[in-house]
Symmetry: C2
Subunit: 188 residues, 2 copies
């Protein structure tokens, strides 16, 4: 299930610091990796920052295409999130290996990862020094999507445990996003 | 309560994407602001990335000193986290205004914020283009601390609701960090 998210609200998909899956494609190849080191960088136009290690095949595909998708997975696919963070060699197709499905994106060639609950289609803002010295990629979000069961009207709401987003600790340990609570006069 | 965290494990304090308080000091002034847009950037030496808007007084203090502390607050002080994100003019002392206490840091002049559960003392890695174009600051973590009730042996464990770390949504709405769950063969 997938509905467009206004670009001015795209940062809200990342504001709570969930783990992401970075999907990429170039020259007939595709890949997906897990990334906890991702954050919003600006509101409008929305930008994000993400760390993509030089040793990864995803890095090659992202450098070749200048595009990727930040997918936000949920607890239902936590095993696959861990698997794409650890399995598979350069020649193998991680989607086939882990059973993750894909859906075509709207603007970029990289696919949306099935089973996720939000998706940010991104175009790299070339900043060679960041990429070379820090493995840091900046990108503009050119389209955003969310599962309306989980994010609508600019708000996250988790109707079931399986649909909660994830935060990565280490060694196969995750935290599922909890329930919201309100503080102060601005709350509803 | 505060014990040192090995620098090689400092990234674990930020890996799950909690909201942070950025404290700073220069020329006899000090300030604190809330920042959700912060993430680890490297393991060893540990580095972090954080967005610090040009319009903030904290930005002036950080540019003058080249230092700041990333403090990780918990639910017990969620009201103050929201307050430092919204209250107080440039001339006022946000610590006094919000009732947040401070403790001297070990290496940097910026203070540690009392009532938090982890602290990363940071020295800015000057990258003028990032700072000017993206409000993006990169920094090396030169000392790290945690409340051992909440983080010890490289692991988070939340003994009470009040000590859970926070994730910011919007409009005064937070999520408290949930409980960990394990996936796959690497787990304990």
């Amino acid at each position: 299930m997938r509905e467009p998210v206004e670009l001015s609200k795209a940062y809200l998909l990342m504001n709570h610091g969930p783990v992401t899956l970075v999907s990429s494609a170039a020259g007939g190849k595709r890949n997906v990796m897990a990334a906890s080191w991702a954050m919003p960088l600006d509101f409008a136009p929305p930008k994000i920052a993400v760390v993509i290690d030089k040793s990864t095949f995803s890095r090659e595909l992202i450098e070749a295409s200048g595009e990727f998708v930040l997918n936000i997975p949920c607890r239902a696919i936590a095993e696959q999130v861990l698997a794409v963070g650890s399995c598979c060699g350069r020649g193998e197709d991680k989607f086939s290996q882990t059973g993750l499905s894909t859906v075509p994106a709207s603007i970029v060639d990289a696919p949306l990862v099935g089973g996720c609950v939000a998706w940010l289609e991104c175009k790299v803002i070339p900043e060679a020094r960041n990429e070379q010295h820090y493995d840091l990629f900046l990108a503009e979000v050119v389209a955003a999507w969310a599962d309306p069961r989980v994010f609508s009207g600019g708000r996250w709401h988790f109707p079931s445990e399986d649909l909660r987003t994830l935060h990565y600790l280490a060694g196969g340990n995750f935290i599922a996003t909890g329930d919201a609570f309100s503080v102060g006069a601005e709350t509803e």
